[in-house]
C-alpha cells in the first residue's frame, strides 16, 4: 500500500485553526530546510489509517497466546475512565490542591499494588517493564553505596532471563554474571552458591520463570543471596500466574517491578505505552524516585524520599495507564484477582495437557501460566521449524506463540493463553496445532510457504544494514 506521503496533492490541507487575532510575530532566523509533511484531505487521511489498522492483529482479531507477554483482554471500561477530561486535561504542573483526584489515583494504586506484591512502598514513575528494572537496580545500587559497601558490583542473572535483565543491569553500572539453569529450567543452586559472594549486589529473577515453572527452591534462592549480603530483585513479567495467590515479598524479594500492561490488563498499544511500577521493602523506600505521594487526613501531596535516586522520568509516569490498572484492580478486588491467576494457570495446563498428545514439551509436569513446546524432533524429521508452524498459525487468524525464547530451548514455541480465553477457543486452537503437525509430515512445503492468507507474505531476511531504508525518500 502507498505511504501517506504518496497520497493527496500539495496544497491540500484541513481547516483546523483560526486566523491570528493578535499582531503576527516572526523569528529573526527561520528554517530554510523545506518541511515535507503529508498533504491529504480528512477522508483520505482516515482511510489511510483504517487501511493500516486493517494490517494489524489486535486482541479482537483472534487468539493471542504470545508467551511471556500476557495478552489478556483489555476491559473497555478502563479505556472510558482513562479518557475522562478530568484526567486528560490536567496539567502535570498545576497546583496539587487542584489535582487531588490524580494524586488519589496514584496513592490508591500504590497502596493496592503494595498489598498485591507484599512490598512496603511503590513508585509509579517507570514507563515500562525494562524502565522498572533499571529503577529497581538503582535502588539496590543506592542501598549498597549508602551502607558503604561499594564492592558489590555484580548482578546475577539466570541464562533463561529476558534480555532486558542483563541490559538493565549494565545500564545501572553492574557487571552481569550469568547463572546456568538446571535441567528442569530452574536455578542451579550449586552454581548460584558458587557465584554469590561479597561482590554480589543482587539477583534478578522471574518466578514463575521464563519457561513457566514456579521455582520450588525459591526460599533457598533468596536466602543464599541474602546470606551473601545481596538483595533480590523480582521481575514481574510473569506475575499473572500468581497475582493474589503468592506475593514476591513473601518469597524473600526486596524489590520488584510490575508490568501494568500485562498483569493489570492495560493494553499494549502495539509496543507501548506501558507502565512499570517498582515496589520495595521498607529498607529501600528512602531511595525511591522523587516525587512520592503522601496522604494525610484525606489530603494528598508530593514528597521527596530522603535519599532518592532522583527522577527516572518526567512528571509522574504514564498516568492514564495507571488509571486503567486501578479500575481493573477495583473491578476484580480481593475476590476475583486470585481467580484471574488461577484461571490463567488452569487454561495453560489444559492446553499443555491437550497438546502433549501431539507435541513434545520442553519441561514435563504442571506449568504455571505458560508452557514451552520444543519442535526439535519435528524439525529434524520434517524440516518444519517452529517458525514455520508459527507462520502456519497466522493463516488461521491465530497470533503465533513466542518463538525462539527462552534461548535455552531449541525450536521453542511458548504459549500463554491467559484467563480471558474460553475453553472453546483453546479447543479449536489445539485442533489447529494437531492439523499443522500432520501437515508438517505430509506436506512440509505448505508450511515453509506459509503464511499465504495474511495481508503481507513472509518477509525475507532483513537486508544488510547498508541497504536498509529507514525513511521515505521524497526525491
Amino acid at each position: 500500500m502507498k505511504l501517506i506521503f504518496e497520497k493527496g496533492t500539495p496544497g491540500q490541507h484541513l481547516t483546523l485553526l483560526p486566523e491570528c487575532d493578535v499582531p503576527e510575530a516572526a523569528l529573526r532566523e527561520e528554517r530554510v530546510l523545506p518541511l515535507r509533511l503529508p498533504h491529504v484531505g480528512e477522508n483520505e487521511l482516515t482511510r489511510h489509517y483504517k487501511q493500516l489498522s486493517d494490517r494489524v492483529h489486535g486482541m479482537n482479531d483472534g487468539f493471542y497466546p504470545l508467551g511471556s507477554c500476557t495478552m489478556k483482554y483489555n476491559p473497555k471500561i478502563d479505556e472510558e475512565l482513562a479518557a475522562l477530561p478530568g484526567f486528560t486535561q490536567i496539567h502535570p504542573l498545576q497546583p496539587v490542591s487542584s489535582a487531588q483526584g490524580c494524586l488519589q489515583v496514584l496513592y490508591t494504586a500504590e497502596r493496592e499494588l503494595c498489598a498485591v506484591t507484599g512490598m512496603d512502598a511503590m513508585t509509579l514513575q517507570p514507563a515500562a517493564g525494562a524502565h522498572g528494572e533499571f529503577t529497581g537496580l538503582l535502588l539496590i545500587k543506592a542501598y549498597h553505596l549508602r551502607r558503604k559497601d561499594p564492592g558489590r558490583t555484580k548482578i546475577l542473572v539466570p541464562d533463561s532471563a529476558h534480555g532486558t535483565n542483563p541490559a538493565s543491569a549494565r545500564m545501572a553500572g553492574f557487571d552481569v554474571v550469568n547463572i546456568p539453569s538446571s535441567p528442569d529450567g530452574c536455578v542451579d543452586l550449586e552454581a548460584l552458591r558458587a557465584a554469590a559472594g561479597p561482590d554480589t549486589a543482587g539477583l534478578m529473577l522471574t518466578n514463575p520463570n521464563t519457561v513457566g515453572i514456579f521455582d520450588k527452591n525459591i526460599l533457598k534462592i533468596t536466602e543464599i543471596i541474602h546470606k551473601a549480603g545481596g538483595l533480590c530483585y523480582y521481575d514481574g513479567a510473569n506475575l499473572n500466574a500468581i497475582v493474589g495467590v503468592v506475593r514476591p515479598g513473601d518469597m524473600g524479594f526486596d524489590v520488584c517491578h510490575l508490568n501494568l500492561h500485562k498483569t493489570f490488563a492495560t493494553p499494549h498499544g502495539g509496543g507501548g505505552p506501558g507502565s512499570g511500577p517498582v515496589g520495595c521493602k521498607a529498607a529501600l523506600a528512602e531511595f525511591l524516585p522523587a516525587p512520592q505521594v503522601e496522604e494525610r487526613a484525606g489530603r494528598y501531596r508530593f514528597v521527596t524520599p530522603r535519599h532518592s535516586i532522583g527522577r527516572v522520568r518526567g512528571f509522574s509516569g504514564n498516568f492514564t495507564v495507571v488509571v486503567r490498572a486501578l479500575a481493573y484492580l477495583m473491578t476484580l478486588g480481593r475476590e476475583r484477582l486470585p481467580e484471574a491467576a488461577e484461571n490463567a494457570v488452569l487454561n495453560a495446563n489444559y492446553m499443555k495437557a491437550r497438546l502433549s498428545e501431539c507435541c513434545e514439551m520442553a519441561y514435563p509436569g504442571f506449568c504455571m501460566h505458560e508452557f514451552v513446546m520444543t519442535l526439535e524432533t519435528l524439525h529434524r524429521e520434517t524440516g518444519v521449524s517452529a517458525l514455520d508452524i508459527a507462520k502456519g498459525l497466522l493463516d488461521h487468524g491465530v497470533h503465533p506463540p513466542t518463538m525462539y525464547f527462552p534461548l535455552i530451548v531449541r525450536e521453542a514455541l511458548m504459549i500463554e493463553p491467559c484467563e480471558t480465553e474460553s475453553k472453546e477457543t483453546m479447543d479449536s486452537v489445539c485442533g489447529l496445532f494437531v492439523r499443522l503437525f500432520a501437515d508438517a509430515r505430509t506436506d512440509p512445503q505448505s508450511l515453509h510457504d506459509a503464511p499465504l492468507h495474511t495481508r503481507a507474505p513472509r518477509p525475507p531476511a532483513p537486508p544488510p544494514p547498508r541497504h536498509t531504508v529507514l525513511r521515505y525518500s521524497f526525491d
Binding site: P23, L52, V116, H131, G269, R313
Partner: protein
C-alpha cells in the same frame, strides 16, 4: 465466574479432568504451602457501574482550567478530532509489539512514516520508533555519545530541570559524570561551555528553545562543542521545529525531545512520547526499535524491524539500551497529528503560538509584570516578580479559571499556544494587574 474470565464451574471441572487433577491448587504444587496468601488486603470486587462512579468521582476532584497559560514541559495544543478517532481503533490499542511482520505491517508502516516525519521536522537523517518521554530521550542520548575516552556529559543549566534530573539519575547508573554549564541572562554561557569542555567530554546537551523559552545560539554553541571533539545534542520542541532553524541545520549529532505537543493530552504527565533522531553516522548508537523498508518475496514493499543487533533481546548486556516497550501508540498519534496538520497547519500552530506569546508578554508587561530576560523567545517567557507576588497573581488567576505562569526562580514562566484567544489573554492580564495593585 465474573470479571473477564469466561470459564464456568462446569468447564473448569472438564478441564481439570483432562489435566488429571481435582483442584487448581494442585497445579501450584511447587509453591511452598506456607507461602500461599491467607488474605489479600484489597477492597471487595465492584461492578462496572460502581467502578465507573468511583473513578469518575476521582476525576471530578481535579480542576480542569479553561485557560492554560502554563507549559514548562507539557503543552496544551489543539488536537484535531481525527487523532483520537483513529488512535482509539481497537487493533491499534490492543496489539503487541510488531515482531510478527506479516500481521503487523500496519504498525510497522506507521512507524516508518513517523520516522520520516520526525526526520523532516528535525532535519536529521534517522529516527527511532520512540522512547518513554523527552527526559529519558535526553538521558539516553548521553549513552549514545559516550565511549572509553569520553565519559563526561555536559548539560546547559537552561535545560528543563526535570530533564536534568533524569539525566543525573541515568548517569548515576552508568557512572558518567554530568556537569552543568551555567547560564547568563537566561541563556547558556558560551565562555562557560568552552571552559567546561575537555578531551574527556562526550557531549553537550542544549535545549532549544530553552526552559525559560529563550532561543539559544545553537549553531554557535554547536561549533564550540565540535571544536572540542564532543557530540552536540539538541533537545527541541517539535512544534517550534516547524519555524525554527532545525537541529540538522545547527549541526546537531543527535536531536531529541518531548513529542507530547504532537497530538497528545497533558494527562497529568503521561503517556507522552520521547523522540530520538540522529545523524547517519550515529545510527548504530540509537537505542530502541527502528523500522526499515524492504521488499518481500513477491517484490512488494514491506516493513521490518531492523538493525536489531543493537537491541537487548539480541545483545543482552551488550545492548545499546534496555528499552523494550516504548510509546508506540503515542508515536502513532503523533503521525496522525502531523498528517492532519500538514506542513502549513504545523507552521500555523507554531506561528500562532509565537505571536500569542508575544502578545501576552506585552499585555503582562503593561499590567506590571516585565520580562525577566531580554532575549528572543518562542512561546514561553519569564516575567520578573517576587515569589510572594507570583503566588498572589497565580491565585487570582486560578480563582478565575486560568492556570497562570509557573513559579520559577526570579518570577513566572508563561506559555501561550494557538488555543488561547486574545480575549482570554486580555482578561488574564487584567486580573494580574488587579492582583498586583
Amino acid at each position: 465466574m465474573g470479571s473477564y474470565v469466561p470459564n464456568t464451574e462446569a468447564t473448569r471441572r472438564e478441564m481439570l479432568d483432562v489435566i488429571g487433577v481435582r483442584s487448581v491448587r494442585e497445579l501450584y504444587e511447587n509453591v511452598p504451602p506456607e507461602m500461599f496468601l491467607q488474605s489479600l488486603d484489597l477492597p471487595h470486587e465492584q461492578s462496572e457501574l460502581e467502578v465507573r462512579s468511583a473513578v469518575t468521582a476521582m476525576a471530578e476532584k481535579n480542576r480542569v482550567f479553561r485557560t492554560c497559560l502554563r507549559g514548562a514541559g507539557a503543552y496544551r495544543h489543539f488536537i484535531p478530532a481525527v487523532v483520537k478517532s483513529i488512535t482509539s481503533r481497537e487493533e491499534l490499542v490492543t496489539a503487541y509489539t510488531p515482531y510478527q511482520a506479516e500481521i503487523s505491517q500496519g504498525i510497522l508502516q506507521s512507524i516508518f512514516e513517523y520516522q520520516t516525519m520526525l526526520c523532516e521536522l528535525t532535519g536529521m537523517d534517522v529516527s527511532n520508533a520512540s522512547v518513554y518521554d523527552g527526559a529519558t530521550a535526553a538521558a539516553e542520548s548521553i549513552t549514545m555519545c559516550r565511549d572509553r575516552r569520553r565519559s563526561r556529559a555536559l548539560v546547559s543549566a537552561a535545560a528543563n530541570p526535570q530533564v536534568i534530573d533524569v539525566m543525573r539519575t541515568y548517569c548515576f547508573g552508568s557512572g558518567a559524570e554530568l556537569i552543568i554549564v551555567p547560564a547568563r541572562d537566561g541563556r547558556t554561557d558560551p565562555e562557560a561551555l568552552r571552559a567546561a569542555l575537555g578531551t574527556d567530554t562526550a557531549c553537550f546537551y542544549l535545549q532549544q528553545p530553552n526552559y525559560w523559552g529563550l532561543l539559544e545560539d545553537a549553531a554557535g554553541l554547536g561549533e564550540i562543542v565540535h571544536a572540542a571533539g564532543a557530540k552536540f545534542v539538541m533537545g527541541v520542541n517539535p512544534i517550534a521545529c516547524a519555524l525554527m532553524k532545525t537541529p540538522g541545520e545547527c549541526g546537531a549529532d543527535v536531536a531529541v525531545g518531548e513529542g507530547q505537543p504532537l497530538g497528545l493530552d497533558t494527562a497529568f504527565g503521561g503517556p507522552y512520547l520521547g523522540f530520538m533522531t540522529a545523524s547517519a553516522a550515529m545510527m548504530r548508537q540509537l537505542p530502541g526499535r527502528i523500522v526499515g523498508q524492504t521488499r518481500d518475496v513477491d517484490g512488494a514493499l514491506g516493513y521490518v524491524l531492523t538493525l536489531t543487533a543493537r537491541e537487548q533481546h539480541i545483545r543482552r548486556e551488550k545492548a545499546s539500551s534496555n528499552i523494550c516497550s516504548n510509546e508506540q501508540l503515542c508515536a502513532f498519534a503523533a503521525g496522525v497529528y502531523l498528517s492532519a496538520m500538514g506542513a502549513d497547519g504545523l507552521r500555523q500552530a507554531a506561528r500562532l503560538s509565537l505571536s500569542k506569546a508575544h502578545y501576552l508578554a506585552g499585555r503582562l508587561e503593561s499590567a506590571g509584570l516585565p520580562l525577566l530576560y531580554s532575549g528572543e523567545f518562542f512561546h514561553e517567557f519569564v516575567t520578573a516578580c517576587s515569589e510572594k507576588t507570583a503566588r498572589t497573581v497565580c491565585r487570582a488567576l486560578e480563582r478565575n479559571g486560568i492556570l497562570g505562569g509557573l513559579p520559577v526562580e526570579g518570577g513566572l514562566l508563561w506559555c501561550a499556544t494557538e488555543l488561547v484567544t486574545r480575549a482570554e489573554m486580555d482578561r488574564a492580564a487584567a486580573i494580574a494587574k488587579e492582583a498586583l495593585a
